[in-house]
C-alpha cells in the first residue's frame, strides 16, 4: 500500500436510501383488510416510502473523526444505519473495513441483566476473550462512571437512567478498538464530565487508526471532537470539509432562518435510535 494514498475505512458510493413508514394513515386498518393484504401481498395503504438519503458519496479514512450535522430529519441517522449495515441502500453501495458498530441513544443492551453482566457479555459479544474482559472490566466500569453514585453496576440495567445506560453502552463499545465506530447522539445524554472523557476516548480510538462518526446537534461537540464534518440537508450532501468550516457554514445557514428549520423532510424516522434527537444547543 502506497504511502501516498490514505487508507479508506468507509466508502459511501452514491447511496440512496428509501424506507417504508407504516401507519401513516392512522391505525393498522381493520383485521380483514390486513388479512387480504397479506394474502394478496399488496403493500398496506398506510405505508409511505420516504426517500431519506439521496445520492450521498464520501470516503472516510483511517484516523478521522467525522461529525455529521444537519437539521432534524436530514438523513444523518439513516446514513449511519446504512454504514452499520442496518439499513439496505436502495441504490449505491456502502463499503466498510470490518464491521462498524453503531451506538444509538435508546439501544438498550440486556436490560434485565445487571450492568456487570452487560459489561462482561458485551465484551464477549464483541469477540474479546474472557481474560481480556476480565482485565478491562475495572476500566470499563470506571470509565462509565456508573459507580460514582453508589453501587449501581450490580443493579439490572433497566433501573438505569437513560444517561447512565448510554454511558455504560459507550464504555463497553469503546473498550475495544474499532475500525469504524458510529455514535448517534449517544454522548449527548452524558454529563459534562463524561462527555470530556468520551472525547478523550474518541481521540484514542482515532490514534488506534479507527474512524469515528459522530452525530450530534451540539455544534461545539462536533468542532471539539471531529476534524472533519459532513453536512446533510434533505438527504443530500451539502458540504464536506474541515469541521470548523462546515460548522460555521451550517451555523450561518441556520442563523438565517431563526427558529426551527423548515420541515423539509416528509416524515419522521422509524423507531430508530436518535430519530427525533433532542436538540441540545450548547453553543
Amino acid at each position: 500500500m502506497a504511502e501516498t494514498e490514505r487508507v479508506p475505512t468507509v466508502v459511501v458510493d452514491d447511496v440512496h436510501i428509501t424506507y417504508k413508514v407504516h401507519g401513516t394513515k392512522g391505525g393498522k386498518g381493520s383485521a380483514t383488510s390486513a388479512l387480504s393484504r397479506i394474502v394478496s401481498r399488496r403493500p398496506s395503504p398506510g405505508v409511505r416510502e420516504v426517500h431519506a438519503v439521496r445520492g450521498v458519496s464520501f470516503v472516510a479514512y483511517k484516523g478521522e473523526a467525522i461529525g455529521l450535522i444537519g437539521s432534524n430529519g436530514s438523513g444523518k441517522s439513516t446514513l449511519l444505519k446504512a454504514v452499520a449495515g442496518l439499513l439496505p441502500a436502495s441504490r449505491g453501495k456502502v463499503y466498510t473495513r470490518g464491521q462498524p458498530s453503531l451506538l444509538g441513544v435508546n439501544a438498550a443492551l440486556m436490560s434485565d441483566l445487571t450492568g456487570e453482566r452487560n459489561v462482561i457479555l458485551g465484551g464477549l459479544a464483541m469477540g474479546m476473550t474472557r481474560e481480556q474482559v476480565r482485565s478491562r472490566y475495572a476500566d470499563i466500569v470506571e470509565f462509565s462512571g456508573i459507580n460514582e453514585k453508589g453501587d449501581f453496576i450490580t443493579l439490572p440495567m433497566r433501573t438505569y437512567s437513560s444517561g447512565m445506560g448510554a454511558r455504560l453502552r459507550f464504555s463497553i463499545a469503546a473498550a475495544k478498538a474499532h475500525d469504524v465506530l458510529l455514535i448517534d447522539e449517544a454522548l449527548s445524554t452524558g454529563d459534562a464530565r463524561f462527555q470530556n472523557r468520551s472525547k478523550e476516548r474518541i481521540a484514542e480510538l482515532r490514534a488506534e487508526a479507527g474512524t469515528v462518526f459522530l452525530v450530534s446537534h451540539s455544534n461545539r461537540t462536533i468542532t471539539e471532537t471531529c476534524d472533519r464534518a459532513i453536512w446533510l440537508e434533505s438527504g443530500t450532501l451539502r458540504m464536506d470539509g474541515p469541521a470548523a468550516e462546515v460548522v460555521a457554514a451550517y451555523e450561518e445557514f441556520t442563523g438565517k432562518k431563526p427558529g426551527r428549520k423548515p420541515a423539509a423532510k416528509t416524515a419522521g424516522k422509524t423507531a430508530a435510535a436518535g430519530a427525533v434527537a433532542p436538540t441540545r444547543p450548547t453553543t
Binding site: 500500500m1 504511502e3 487508507v7 479508506p8 466508502v11 458510493d13 452514491d14 458519496s57 464520501f58 470516503v59 479514512y61 483511517k62 484516523g63 467525522i66 446504512a82 454504514v83 452499520a84 449495515g85 442496518l86 439499513l87 439496505p88 453501495k93 456502502v94 463499503y95 466498510t96 473495513r97 464491521q99 462498524p100 458498530s101 453503531l102 451506538l103 444509538g104 439501544a107 438498550a108 443492551l109 440486556m110 436490560s111 434485565d112 441483566l113 453482566r117 462482561i120 464477549l124 459479544a125 464483541m126 469477540g127 439490572p156 463497553i172 482515532r206 490514534a207 487508526a209 476534524d227 450532501l237 451539502r238 458540504m239 464536506d240 470539509g241 474541515p242 469541521a243 468550516e245 457554514a249
Partner: protein, 315 residues
C-alpha cells in the same frame, strides 16, 4: 501507524475544498478504491465458513449469556431459583389431576406418574426452547444493533439456557422416579444420546422461529396455539401405544404420530428411565427417526437462520 492524519485536513491534500463547496474531490471510481483496500460491502452476509468461525469464537459469549439469563430469570420472584423446579412440578401436578384422575388416561399405563412427569419435562424442554427462540432476536434488537457478533449466538444461548433448565428438572425427576421405585440403572445412560439429539432438534427449531419472528412478530402470538396442538398430539399425558391398540386408527395418522419428533424424544426418555416402558412400546426405527429429525432440523434451522443474517436488526 504509517499514516498520521490527526491534522485537520480531512480531504486529500492537493485541493482543500473552497468554503461553501458541496464536497471535496472524490476518487473517480469508489468501487475500485474500496476493492483495492479490501473493504467489504456493509451489511453483506458472511460466508458459511466465516460465519461458523465467528460463532466458534463467540462460544464464551453463548455460554455466559445462557447462564446469565438462567440466573436472572427468577431474580424478581421471592422464591427465586426454586421456580426452576417448581414450575415443571406444578405443571405435572395439574396434568396428573386432569388427565390421570379426571379423564382417567392412566388406565393401562403402568407407573403413570413417572410416565407423565417424564413426558411433561421433556415436552417442556422442546416447547420452552421454541418459545425462547421466538424472542431470541426480536427481544434483543438493542444488542443486535449496538454490537456486532454472529446473530446465531442468540438462539444458541437461549437453547442452551433451556437445556440448563432441563437439567434442573431432571434433578427433580430422579427424586420423583425414586419415590416410585425407579432407581438409577445402566439403561439410564440411554438418556444421554436421546437428550443430545433432542437438544440439536430444539436448537434448529429455535433458529427457525427466531428468524420468522424477527421479520414477522405476529408469529409469536401464534406459538402458544401451535405448541398446545403439538403437545396433545405427542402423547405427553397418554400413551400413544394404547391409542394404537385401536385398529381403527388409519395407517397414515399412525405413521404421522409415530414419526412426530416430540413423541419420539419423549418415548426415548421414558424407555431409558422407566422400567415398565419397554422397547415394544417404541415405534419402529426409533433411533433412526430421532437422529434424522435432529440432523434435518439442526442443519436446516442453522442454514435458514444464516440466510437472513444481514437482515437482523434492520427496520
Amino acid at each position: 501507524m504509517s499514516q498520521t492524519t490527526t491534522s485537520a485536513a480531512p480531504v486529500r491534500a492537493p485541493e482543500p475544498p473552497p468554503p461553501g463547496a458541496s464536497a471535496p474531490a472524490l476518487p473517480d471510481d469508489l468501487r475500485a478504491l474500496a476493492a483495492r483496500h479490501g473493504l467489504t460491502e456493509s451489511g453483506a452476509r458472511p460466508t458459511l465458513l466465516a460465519y461458523l468461525r465467528g460463532l466458534h469464537s463467540r462460544r464464551h459469549f453463548v455460554t455466559a449469556l445462557a447462564t446469565a439469563r438462567l440466573t436472572s430469570q427468577y431474580s424478581q420472584a421471592k422464591l427465586g431459583q426454586l421456580w426452576q423446579i417448581m414450575t415443571p412440578l406444578l405443571n405435572a401436578t395439574v396434568y396428573y389431576f386432569i388427565f390421570g384422575v379426571l379423564l382417567n388416561t392412566k388406565d393401562g399405563v403402568p407407573d403413570y406418574v413417572p410416565f407423565l412427569v417424564t413426558g411433561v419435562f421433556i415436552w417442556t424442554f422442546t416447547a420452552g426452547t421454541i418459545t425462547a427462540g421466538t424472542r431470541a432476536v426480536s427481544g434483543n434488537i438493542g444488542l443486535v444493533r449496538a454490537l456486532h457478533f454472529p446473530r446465531a449466538s442468540l438462539p444458541l444461548a437461549f437453547a442452551l439456557q433451556q437445556l440448563q433448565q432441563l437439567l434442573f428438572s431432571l434433578g427433580a425427576l430422579t427424586v420423583i422416579l425414586a419415590v416410585f421405585e425407579q432407581y438409577p440403572r445402566p439403561a439410564w445412560l440411554l438418556a444421554v444420546p436421546a437428550l443430545a439429539l433432542q437438544t440439536v432438534f430444539n436448537t434448529g427449531l429455535a433458529m427457525i422461529f427466531a428468524r420468522l419472528t424477527a421479520s414477522t412478530p405476529d408469529i409469536a402470538q401464534l406459538m402458544p396455539f401451535l405448541l398446545r396442538t403439538w403437545m396433545y398430539a405427542s402423547g405427553v399425558m397418554w400413551s400413544l401405544d394404547t391409542v394404537f391398540k385401536d385398529e381403527a386408527v388409519p395407517r397414515l395418522v399412525r405413521l404421522a404420530l409415530e414419526c412426530n419428533p416430540a413423541a419420539v424424544y419423549i418415548d426415548l426418555m421414558r424407555f431409558a428411565l422407566i422400567d415398565s416402558f419397554t422397547a415394544g412400546q417404541l415405534p419402529p426405527h426409533v433411533w433412526l427417526v430421532a437422529t434424522g429429525w435432529a440432523v434435518l432440523l439442526g442443519a436446516g434451522g442453522f442454514l435458514f437462520f444464516w440466510q437472513a443474517e444481514e437482515k437482523y436488526g434492520r427496520g
